[in-house]
Amino acid sequence: MDSRSREFELRVASDWGKMGSVNEAILAFLESCGLAGELADRYTMVACELTENGIKYGNFEKTGASVSVKVKVDRRGIFVEVTNPIGAGTHDYLRELDRTIQWVRGFQDPFEAYIERMQAISRESIEVDRSGLGLVRITYEGRAALDFYVEDDSTLSVSAVSEL
């Protein structure tokens, strides 16, 4: 792998139809950093899951509002940060995000959290389409540590950090 630090940033419109292009762009960047197929797949998934959440739960009322996706690769690891605008309607999601991250941290092995979430989904009715698996998958399959911060009450940044 390239020993230098490499960074990549994408601005994504609030358009779910862009997710295929986001996936391709991040995968291409990670491969250009010399990451082998399996690692490139893993961190592409991490960035895409966070981007989906940014589009799903962001507030895009202001013209030109978008989701920012930053990926940084260096010898120590991979840092992914997704930032999206938030509004008053986002507060329930922030509470849920905080609760989920704290809940996942409570497991010694993220696999246990993943299994527990799958069991919960199996008990939910067919009509409940929200999986709530994305963040858990990032810690289990992506082996990443999650964190988030809110800036000026107007943007939310969620990060996932993995050691290489």
């Binding site: 997710m19 797949d41 799903k56 069991q119 199996s122 067919i126 999986s131 998958r137 399959e141």
Partner: protein, 124 residues
């Protein structure tokens, strides 16, 4: 005679084949669907119902799937649970050598039944 039906949504293609002995649902491409349950669940539900009536096993084959978001696993979990609690035989097949598939799909083992009526199989 084998009948094959194809369903396409964005970059995800689902093929349903019935050869008279078994019903096979194959996933191809990439799934970025926002609400995969609306697209995937009705297909899996219909296949499971047809298979139960025809006394056939359902094979759900993910080996040609290149990527899926976490929401895509939800309808699969729900169909496995429906079969586990009721009737039907389902085999989930994934590509063991593909790391992301191994990690994602091997976890479905919690839905496997002791009599292998529901089974999760990693394949080459």
């Amino acid at each position: 005679m084998e009948s094959i039906q194809s369903f396409v949504n964005d970059r995800l293609k689902i093929e349903y084949a019935d050869d008279g002995q078994a019903c096979t649902v194959r996933f191809f491409g990439k799934s970025f669907l926002k609400d995969p349950g609306e697209f995937v669940f009705p297909i899996l539900s219909k296949v499971l119902q047809d298979a139960i009536e025809g006394k056939k096993r359902v094979f759900i084959d993910f080996r040609e799937l290149a990527y899926m978001n976490s929401s895509t696993i939800t309808p699969v979990i729900k169909i496995l649970e429906r079969a586990r609690m009721g009737a039907g035989e389902i085999t989930v097949q994934y590509k063991h050598s593909l790391k992301w598939q191994d990690i994602s799909f091997s976890a479905l083992i919690i839905f496997q039944t002791p009599d292998r009526r529901i089974e999760i199989v990693g394949m080459e």
